[in-house]
Amino acid sequence: MLSAFPAKLVDYAVLNTAFTVELYDAISSSDRINKGYMKSIHDGLRAVDSSSVRPAKNLTEVVSTSDTCSKTPVLNVIDVIRLSEVHKKGRGITLFDTLSAVDRTSLSLLLNLRDTFVGEFGITRKPGLTRHDVITPRESISKLGTKQLRDESFVTDLISKHTDKALLDQMAAGDLVRKVGVKPLYDGTRLKEIVAKVEFSVIRQITERLELDKARRVYFLPEEYRYLHDIIMPEDHNIKVDASKVLLALLEWAERKIEHLHYPGPLFERIGITDWIEKVVKKSIRDKVDWAVDGSEEGRGT
């Protein structure tokens, strides 16, 4: 059992119980178990596993862990948190300036504010107030009791249940399932369900038409296998030209996707995806194109 004040660097394991004040400038440990009853401030925390229980106040500026489990009844402020899994139970206030997690599960009873959330899975259950300025998870499942605010949200699958009020400024989701009990408000909400499906369709068509799977390697064979006659055929060259054209379309797609990576809501407006399909992709892929748009097959240029 160790007590830290005011600066402490622990290398391997910390089992800490304090009743007044804990200040850590830097903590690096494989396992960390902490119980505090008044106040705890961490400038930097890097741990494989971190578990903390606090009934009073918890300030963590930087947290980088693979797993963290914390229970805070009153206040929890985390400036930057990067971890693979978060399991959090709070009964007071939870503030995340930046949260990047693969899996996140949180239970809060009153208030939960996140400026940025980037993760593959986000599961939130809150009976109080939830505000997401920017949320970009692959899946978001939320159950809210009273109120939910989202400025921008872009998810593949969104399943949400609201019993009181939901405000969505912008929303782009692949599949959207929503159950609202009382009243939903959409402030200029633009559901991009169709456009998101177009994105998947375009990428699939681009990749299918790379035709690199059809391309074959050519081998220089020794004299005794000369009868196999392995030479570079005209089709081999043409496939490379086709693949180059589609790769250029893929590069252009990637440029636009990465340019608006954190702002996927207005992405489709800015690039004008329909025009882009017509002008760039369709021109680039001239061979054996079976577009869903018109179903026509165009001839190869010469």
């Binding site: 990047s100 980037v118 593959e120 692959r138 593949t156 994105e199 998947f200 990428i203 699939r204 990749t207 790379l210 690199l212 391309a215 390697r217 050519v218 081998y219 220089f220 392995d230 570079i232 005209p234 081999d236 060259h237 043409n238 490379k240 030209v241 693949a243 180059s244 054209k245 790769l247 250029l248 893929l250 590069l251 252009e252 797609w253 990637a254 440029e255 996707k257 990465i258 340019e259 990576l261 954190h262 190869r300 240029g301 010469t302």
Partner: protein, 115 residues
């Protein structure tokens, strides 16, 4: 750092100069050289995109880095050909390998999320 738009413009120019061939056509040195220059420029463009992706995602992707570095190494075995040179099987296979590697890298960065 070169802008990605300049690289894409170069790629479009190279593509416009490429040609489809059929049986009986002469194999020209430009056919191989254009594909080589296209692959070199595409690798540079992918590197720029990966830098942007790293900055925005704030993390690294070792698979993308491996693809890009492998593509660069493969292209190091190629050189431009001149009239009279023999087009080796290596010249064909390396281009295919590089295009496949770039495809993997770009789809990891900008493709649809893998379920």
């Amino acid at each position: 750092m070169t802008l990605i738009s300049e690289q894409l413009s170069t790629l479009r120019t190279l593509l416009n100069e490429m040609r489809y061939v059929s049986h009986g056509d002469m194999v020209l040195a430009t056919d191989t050289n254009l594909l080589l220059n296209f692959a070199l420029t595409a690798v540079e463009a992918t590197k720029i995109l990966y830098d942007q992706w790293k900055y925005k995602m704030d993390r690294l992707d070792p698979i993308v880095e491996d693809c890009i570095s492998t593509a660069e190494r493969r292209l190091g075995f190629m050189k431009e050909v001149k009239h009279g040179d023999v087009v080796a099987t290596r010249d064909h296979n390396i281009i295919l390998d590089v295009l496949k590697l770039l495809q993997i890298a770009l789809l990891r960065m900008a493709g649809p999320p893998v379920p």
